[in-house]
């Protein structure tokens, strides 16, 4: 349980800021696509070395980075936009993954891969998650300004600096790394949840980017705690419980936050003279 809590904190710190940038770049669904793209790598790792953490992690990262790089290259150098190029490559990757899994002809512990096992995190997985979070935070601190500019005015960034590809590709790599770390705790399908749901909730409340980031991390960690507790007491799987808690936070924000459904009516103040 303590390990699970530490894992959730690490995930909230690393994956959620990445999720917020995904959201602001209008690439929320990209996380979903990327999580599928990771499958063939993890499957190859499993084929070669069995259910080993290292092999599946390395495989997943390699497959994810290849897909992300290919999609990024196509988006930057052809007339296809990022969503189209990503959809093409992730579908190819997913197809390859399913083919590879079926080659083995035996049912691996699919539930483990799909839904993760945050309560069963061992020391190695925890170290991996913490390592990826540390790397992510350092990289974000370094890339913050180029990344913000790449998000809101990419043509200006291309004009003044050569950092545009660094920010773009660096960000894609961070997405892949955090999906892999999320996939150990929450599973491939649920990993995106902890990225996007807290980010979407925070977007509804805050107007400044820094406040948004802090709030998103707080919501993600809060959902982690609530999810773990309910999973422990009600004996339900932890990954979905955590993501569902984040989903409830999102629904509440949707109803109450200034940017939500009723925000314009709830926060109505008399207008100023000028």
């Amino acid at each position: 349980m303590r390990r699970a809590l530490a894992g959730c904190l690490a995930l909230a710190l690393g994956a959620t800021p990445i999720g917020l940038f995904l959201l602001l770049r209008r690439m929320s669904l990209m996380g979903d696509a990327m999580s599928h793209a990771i499958l063939p790598g993890a499957a190859l790792g499993y084929l070669a070395f069995g259910l080993s953490l290292g092999a599946m992690t390395v495989g997943g990262i390699v497959a994810g980075v290849v897909v992300a790089m290919a999609a990024g290259l196509v988006a930057r150098s052809s007339i296809l936009k990022e969503d189209a190029s990503l959809a093409a490559f992730y579908l190819m990757s997913l197809a390859a993954g399913v083919l590879i899994v079926s080659l083995r002809g035996r049912n691996l512990d699919l539930l483990h891969v799909l839904f993760g096992s945050v309560l069963g995190l061992d020391d190695n997985s925890l170290l991996l998650i913490a390592g990826i979070t540390t790397l992510t935070l350092f990289a974000l601190a370094l890339l913050y300004r180029p990344l913000v500019l790449e998000c809101f005015d990419p043509s200006y960034l291309r004009g003044v600096s050569r950092l545009s590809p660094v920010a773009h590709y660096g960000f894609l790599i961070l997405v892949v790394l955090n999906l892999v770390s999320g996939f150990h705790a929450l599973g491939t399908l649920m990993a995106v949840g902890i990225m996007i749901l807290p980010a979407a909730s925070a977007r509804l409340w805050a107007r400044r980017l820094t406040a948004m980031l802090a709030l998103a991390v707080a919501i993600a960690f809060g959902s982690g705690v609530v999810g773990l507790l309910s999973s422990f007491h009600a004996d339900v799987p932890a990954g979905p419980a955590i993501v569902f808690s984040a989903g409830i936070a999102y629904l509440v924000s949707l109803f109450l936050a200034p940017g939500g459904l009723f925000g314009a009516r709830l926060y109505r103040l008399p207008h100023l003279e000028s």
């Binding site: 809101f152 005015d153 990419p154 200006y156 004009g159 980017l209």
Partner: protein
């Protein structure tokens, strides 16, 4: 008439630009001296934006070449259709401060004097009091003022402005033209695509009239004559799918 190389900012030699082999700008010859304030005029589809994009390296010449005496990082370009995502949570101050990129870089912090410089520039374009507003709450004119403030901080030698006054009211346009005239007085080279002939006549000493090829280039009063404007308008804008390969001799077209 050959000018010394050092006094020229841009030289065109038989420059032909276009899309899918069809030229948008044909056999452009000529030179733009340093410190010139040139209006680029012509009907829609004349190749004005294409020319500016070529100068910043966004599309390759089909034929010919141009020479820039200005380093790439000393060129500022204001695109016609801004790619700015105004829904992104960034304040006016932060957006304008990005003009200091070349001095601050991607990672350095802003010094106190640089913060003051940004504030002074925001004041110069008349946006004082709006520093902390998200850019999404600005009006079209205010956003254009913020983009000009960023241009001021970029402090470039060559400025390429693509229809900077599109959908901008006349008061804002006058304020922004005053900024352009300031830049001109400081000796910067400026190419601005404009449609407002009256403003071109009033403020721009030189004019390049384009209609897929150069109709005229020189002092504005000589370029913007009724006869030449009519010729520019007459140039068809449709692409002829089956146009034959162009065999015009490059030397014939010298302006």
């Amino acid at each position: 008439m050959k000018q010394a190389e050092t006094t020229l900012a841009i030289q065109f030699r038989n420059l032909t630009l276009g899309y899918d082999r069809h030229p948008a700008v044909h056999h452009l010859h000529g030179a733009i001296p340093r410190g010139a304030l040139v209006a680029v005029a012509g009907p829609n589809g004349a190749g004005k934006s294409t020319l500016l994009k070529a100068l910043i390296g966004e599309n390759r010449p089909l034929q010919g070449e141009f020479r820039l005496a200005v380093a790439h990082e000393r060129i500022a370009y204001l695109p016609q259709q801004s790619e700015i995502d105004t829904s992104f949570p960034v304040s006016v101050f932060d957006m304008v401060a990005m003009g200091l990129w070349r001095r601050v870089g991607g990672f350095g912090g802003l010094s106190r004097s640089q913060r003051d410089e940004v504030k002074a520039t925001i004041e110069q374009v008349g946006l004082t009091g709006l520093e902390h507003r998200p850019i999404g709450t600005l009006s079209g004119g205010q956003l254009q003022r913020a983009r000009f403030a960023r241009l001021i901080l970029q402090d470039c030698e060559l400025l390429l402005l693509d229809e900077p006054f599109n959908a901008i009211d006349s008061r804002t346009t006058d304020d922004l033209i005053a900024l352009i005239l300031d830049w001109h007085a400081q000796g910067r080279t400026i190419l601005a695509v404009l449609h407002d002939l009256e403003r071109i006549r009033r403020y721009f000493p030189d004019c390049l009239l384009l209609a897929r090829e150069v109709i005229a280039y020189g002092p504005t009063p000589e370029v913007l004559t009724a006869e030449r404007l009519a010729r520019a308008r007459a140039v068809t804008e449709t692409f002829d799918e089956d146009a034959p390969v162009c065999h015009r001799h490059p030397e014939q077209e010298a302006v």
